[in-house]
C-alpha cells in the first residue's frame, strides 16, 4: 500500500475516532452509550494496527506522531482505573486496613517500641526530676501545659465551649494528621526520618506527662487524655509503622529488585498511613468535643477504657469476616432481609462512637 493511499483511506476513521474521543471525554463513564464504546474500541484497535504499520514502514515522523497521539489518547480513555466508590473506601477502612496492619504487625510493634520506650523513660525521669524535664522540653511549654491542667478546662457546655472546641478540633486535625503523614513520608529516607520522629515524639510527650505527674495534675490530665489517646496514640504508632515499612522496602528488598520492592512496600505503607489519618480525624473529634467536657471523671475513664477496647476490637477483628459468618447464621435463623445492608461491626461501632 502506498503511503498517500493509506492516509486517504484511513483518514475518515482517524477523524471519527478523534470526534468520538472528544465527545466521550466530556461525559462521565456512566453516560457513555454502548454503541459509542463498541465503535471506539473498534477504531482504537484499527488505529493501533495503523500505527504499527506506519512504524514498520517508516512512513514519516509526523504521521507516526499523529497516530501515536491518537493511540495514547484512546489508551487513556479505554484503560481506566476501576470506578471508585464510597463503598470501596468504607470497606477499606473497615476490613482492608486492620487486616493489612495485622499482616504487618511486626512493624507496628517495632514502631510501638520506638515510641513507648522513650515515652516511659522520659515520663519516669521527668516525674522524679523536673530539672531534667526542662532540659528536654522548653520550660515555657511545660509551665503552659501545667497551668492548663491545673483546673478543669470547662465548667459548662455553652456557646463558648462550642466555639473554642471547634477551633481546637480544626487545630487537632491539621496538626496531628500532619504529624502522622510527615512521620510516614520521612520513612522515604530509609526509615531514618520515621525513627527520629517516633523517638522525638515519644520523648516530648513522655516529658510533658512526667512533668504533669510531678505537678500533681494527674487526674485532670489523664481523664482528658484517655479517651482520644486510644485513637491518637495508636494512629501515630501506625503511621510510624507505615514509615518503617516504606524504609524497609528500600533497605531490604528480599527476593525482589529494589524498585519492585519499593513499589510493593510503598502501596502497603500508604494504605497504613491513610488508615492512620482516618483514625486521627476520629481522635480529633473526640479530643475536640468529648475529652474536655465538664462531666465526672469516672465517666471519662469509663468511656476512655471502652474506646481503647473499640480500637483493640477494630484492629484485631476488622476484616476477619467473623461478622459475616455471624450474620449468615442470623440469616439462616430466619430474618432473610438482613443481608441487604449488612455492615461490618467495627465500622458501626466506630461511627457510633464518633
Amino acid at each position: 500500500m502506498n503511503r498517500e493511499r493509506f492516509i486517504r483511506q484511513r483518514r475518515s476513521d482517524w477523524q471519527q475516532f478523534e470526534g468520538l474521543l472528544n465527545r466521550m471525554k466530556g461525559h462521565r463513564l456512566s453516560r457513555w452509550s454502548g454503541r459509542d464504546i463498541t465503535r471506539l474500541s473498534q477504531l482504537y484497535r484499527s488505529i493501533c494496527y495503523d500505527l504499527s504499520l506506519v512504524q514498520s514502514r517508516e512512513w514519516g515522523a509526523r504521521l507516526e506522531q499523529y497516530l501515536n497521539d491518537l493511540v495514547a489518547q484512546g489508551h487513556n480513555c479505554l484503560y481506566r482505573s476501576p470506578p471508585r466508590s464510597l463503598d470501596t473506601a468504607l470497606s477499606f477502612l473497615s476490613d482492608g486496613f486492620p487486616a493489612l496492619l495485622r499482616r504487618r504487625k511486626n512493624f507496628f510493634f517495632v514502631a510501638l517500641a520506638l515510641f513507648l520506650i522513650p515515652f516511659l523513660a522520659a515520663m519516669v525521669t521527668a516525674a522524679i526530676d523536673p530539672v531534667l524535664a526542662e532540659r528536654l522540653v522548653d520550660q515555657e511549654h511545660l509551665e503552659q501545659a501545667a497551668s492548663s491542667y491545673e483546673n478543669e478546662l470547662y465548667k459548662d457546655v455553652d456557646s463558648k465551649y462550642a466555639e473554642e472546641r471547634t477551633m481546637m478540633t480544626g487545630f487537632y486535625v491539621w496538626n496531628n494528621v500532619g504529624i502522622a503523614f510527615r512521620c510516614f513520608a520521612l520513612g522515604a529516607f530509609f526509615g531514618i526520618g520515621t525513627v527520629v520522629t517516633l523517638l522525638f515524639n515519644g520523648l516530648t510527650l513522655g516529658t510533658v506527662t512526667g512533668y504533669l505527674i510531678y505537678k500533681g495534675c494527674t487526674d485532670n490530665f489523664f481523664s482528658f487524655a484517655i479517651s482520644h489517646g486510644s485513637f491518637e496514640l495508636t494512629a501515630i504508632v501506625i503511621a510510624g509503622a507505615a514509615g518503617l515499612l516504606l524504609g524497609w522496602g528500600m533497605i531490604h528488598p528480599g527476593e525482589h529488585s529494589r524498585v519492585q520492592s519499593l513499589r510493593i512496600h510503598g502501596v502497603e505503607a500508604v494504605k497504613l498511613a491513610a488508615g492512620a489519618g482516618f483514625m486521627l480525624v476520629v481522635a480529633a473529634l473526640i479530643e475536640g468535643y468529648f475529652s474536655p467536657m465538664a462531666i465526672p471523671h469516672a465517666v471519662k475513664y469509663a468511656v476512655g477504657t471502652m474506646l481503647w477496647g473499640v480500637v483493640y476490637v477494630y484492629l484485631m477483628y476488622g476484616g476477619r469476616g467473623g461478622v459475616d459468618v455471624a450474620m449468615s447464621l442470623v440469616d439462616r435463623a430466619g430474618t432473610g432481609k438482613a443481608t441487604a445492608n449488612r455492615q461490618p461491626a467495627a465500622v458501626s461501632v466506630v461511627e457510633s462512637s464518633v
Binding site: N2, R3, E4, R8, Q9, R11, S12, D13, Q15, Y44, C48, L51, S52, Q55, E58, W59, G60, R62, Q65, Y66, N68, D69, V71, A72, H75, N76, Y79, R80, S81, R84, A89, S159, K160, E163, E164, R165, T166, M167, M168, G170, F171, V173, W174, V177, G178, F181, F184, A185, L186, A188, L246, G249, V259, L262, R263, G266, V267, V270, A273, A274
Partner: protein, 352 residues
C-alpha cells in the same frame, strides 16, 4: 529500547494490543511551573477562606472560634489532600498540571488510582527537602528526577508513576516548500522511475518545519541523498543550457536541495488526474461488484438454510440488514474531499 541511546524524553509503552506508543516525559521546568501554580492556588484559597471567615466574624462579632476551626481544617485539606484528590478524581491532573498539559499516569501508561495519588503527594515531604537547610527547594526530588530515566521523584518511584507531557506538537513540513517546483519529467530518467517510501520519508524529515538547519548545511546533507538518487533514477539534468548558462549556475549552491524538492513533488505528492485515478475507479467498481456477488451468495445460502429449517421466509428480509452490516467493513472507503477538512493535522497538503 534500552540498548539505544536516547536523546529525548520519550518513554515507550506497550499497549495490550501489542503496539508500542510513546509518551513524552515532563521535565522539571514544566513540573516546577505547575507546582508553583498549584502552590499559589493552595495559598490563595487558604487566604480567601481566612478573609471570608474574618469578615463573617467581624460582622456578627462572635463566630471567631468556629471560623478558626473551619479555617484550620481548610488549611489541612489544602496542604495534604489538594494534590491527592485532584489527581485521583481528575484523571491524574491538578489545576497546575492541567495548565501545563501534564498528567500523572502509571509507568505502564494506565491512569493512577486513589492510593497512588495519595501516596505520591504525601511523599512531597521528603521530595521537597533541601538536604541541608530549612527552605523547601525540592532538592531531593530534583536529584531523584535527574537520576531516573523517567524523571521520577521519590513519590513517583515508590508508587510507580510518571508525569507525562500531553502537549501535542504538530511537526509539519514548512508550508509551501514544494510550491512552484516542477516535476521531474519521466523522459529525463533512464533508470527505474521509482523512489522507495522510506527514502521519501527521510527526505521529508529534512524539510520538517521544526528543524533549524541553515540552507548551506541542508544542501550538504541533501548532497549525500541526492547523488545516489540521481544515479538510481539515471537522472541527468543535462548541464547548462548553452543559450542561457547563467540560470544553471545560479542554482548551483542549492542544486541538491532543489533536486530533493523535485523528488518530493514528483513522487510524494499525490498524482491526481494521472492514470492512477482511473485504476482506482476500476478497483472501486470491482470491489462493489465482488461485494454484491458475495452478498447475494450469502443471502441465497441463508435463504436455503431457512427453507430447509422450515422457518418463514420473511426472515430473510430481517437477515438482509445484518448481512449488510457484516459487509460494512468491506465497503470501499470514499475518497475524502481534501478541501473540506481544514483542521486536520495531517492535512499539510492543503497548505502547499
Amino acid at each position: 529500547m534500552s540498548a539505544k541511546q536516547k536523546v529525548d524524553t520519550r518513554v515507550t509503552v506497550e499497549t495490550p494490543e501489542g503496539v508500542d506508543f510513546q509518551f513524552m516525559i515532563a521535565g522539571p521546568g514544566k513540573r516546577g511551573m505547575s507546582f508553583f501554580i498549584d502552590a499559589i492556588i493552595k495559598v490563595g484559597f487558604g487566604v480567601l477562606a481566612f478573609l471570608v471567615f474574618a469578615f463573617a466574624s467581624g460582622v456578627s462579632g462572635s463566630v471567631s472560634g468556629v471560623a478558626g476551626g473551619a479555617m484550620l481544617f481548610i488549611w489541612f485539606l489544602m496542604s495534604w489532600l489538594y494534590g491527592s484528590c485532584f489527581e485521583a478524581f481528575w484523571h491524574g491532573q491538578t489545576p497546575g498540571k492541567k495548565s501545563q498539559n501534564l498528567r500523572v499516569v502509571r509507568t505502564n501508561g494506565t491512569p493512577i488510582g486513589w492510593f497512588e495519588a495519595f501516596g505520591r503527594n504525601l511523599l512531597l515531604v521528603p521530595d521537597g527537602m533541601l538536604v541541608l537547610g530549612p527552605i523547601a527547594l525540592n532538592t531531593v526530588g530534583l536529584a531523584s528526577m535527574a537520576a531516573t530515566s523517567r524523571m521520577q521523584r521519590l513519590g513517583d518511584l515508590v508508587f510507580d508513576t510518571m508525569v507525562i507531557d500531553e502537549t501535542r506538537e504538530f511537526i509539519s513540513r514548512t508550508p509551501g516548500i514544494i510550491h512552484g517546483i516542477e516535476r521531474i519529467p519521466r523522459a529525463h530518467c533512464v533508470g527505474r522511475f521509482h523512489v522507495p517510501e522510506r527514502t521519501l520519508a527521510v527526505i521529508e524529515r529534512l524539510f520538517e518545519g521544526d528543524r533549524l538547519i541553515s540552507a548551506g548545511r541542508r544542501e550538504e546533507i541533501a548532497r549525500t541523498l541526492a547523488v545516489p538518487l540521481k544515479k538510481h533514477l539515471g537522472y541527468d539534468d543535462g548541464g547548462p543550457d548553452a543559450a542561457n548558462p547563467n540560470a544553471y549556475f545560479v542554482r548551483t549552491p542549492t542544486q541538491h536541495t532543489d533536486f530533493l524538492k523535485r523528488i518530493l513533488k514528483t513522487f510524494a505528492e499525490d498524482s491526481a488526474g494521472t492514470d492512477e485515478q482511473s485504476v482506482k475507479v476500476d478497483v472501486k467498481a470491482v470491489l462493489e461488484e465482488s461485494r454484491r456477488t458475495t452478498m447475494n451468495a450469502v443471502l441465497a445460502r441463508r435463504a436455503e438454510a431457512n427453507r430447509v429449517a422450515g422457518e418463514p421466509s420473511d426472515n430473510v428480509a430481517l437477515e438482509d440488514s445484518t448481512v449488510a452490516d457484516e459487509f460494512e467493513s468491506l465497503e470501499f472507503v470514499e475518497e475524502v474531499d481534501e478541501s473540506t477538512n481544514g483542521g486536520h493535522p495531517e492535512d499539510w497538503r492543503s497548505k502547499l
